[in-house]
Subunit: 133 residues, 2 copies
């Protein structure tokens, strides 16, 4: 077994090219082959969000704190809260993030296919974030 | 996408044949094929623990509350605390649970192989739980 005590791995800023606003990532796991699981704790400051993106084998989000937003392409923006679970099927274009005035934190779990866990697309515009388009 | 709001799925008691003491399970996900991920939130009352068991593709534990115990077969009992992450490789015999006086809650993440996420073995004796053997 391998144990990573709380505090033993640095929090890192999420890559700016795939996120808007202040987003922090804490590693949970990158399971070795033949396992495929990648899990991260992700913390979004108010107004922060991912770019639009898809996952080759889907993604599960488990919201652990706060209140945020989620949208699948062509669907309305939804509110998500601590304790909610969201499943995004393979290939479904979507984004997730904080509320405009509230932080949101989730565990993000996805399986890699050929080493790829996410395919990143364009940023979520302010109008999209506000649900105006 | 599919959204399960907090409170929309019942908490269930863990199966008594595989656990000792009071253990509650909250579902997170059972990802459809070709995905393999199974995730659960598991809450152990003081003294409660899993049986000895193994996982065909390993398991990741992310401790979200409390202070508990973990042991791999032939190794000493270890203390685990909120924020710790534990990786158990495929086939490694182990158990996890609460401390004798403190609850422990973790997210348990494992991938299924041929539909199987865990292979269950004998109960953890009181002497094993206390680290006396």
């Amino acid at each position: 077994m391998e144990l990573w005590p709380n505090g033993s791995r640095p929090t890192r800023p999420a890559p700016a090219e795939y996120f808007t606003g202040t987003v922090w990532q804490d590693p949970i796991c990158e399971v070795p082959e033949p396992g495929r699981l990648r899990a991260l704790l992700v913390t979004f400051a108010p107004g922060a969000r991912t770019n639009w993106h898809t996952h080759p084998l889907g993604q599960t989000l488990y919201v652990t704190a706060g209140c945020g937003r989620f949208q699948s392409w062509g669907e309305p923006v939804q509110t998500i809260r601590a304790g909610d679970v969201i499943w995004i099927p393979p290939g479904e274009k979507h984004w997730h993030g904080a509320g405009p005035d509230t932080m949101m934190r989730h565990v993000a779990m996805q399986e890699v296919q050929d080493g790829v866990g996410a395919d990143w697309l364009e940023a979520v515009s302010d109008a999209q974030y506000r649900g105006e388009t």
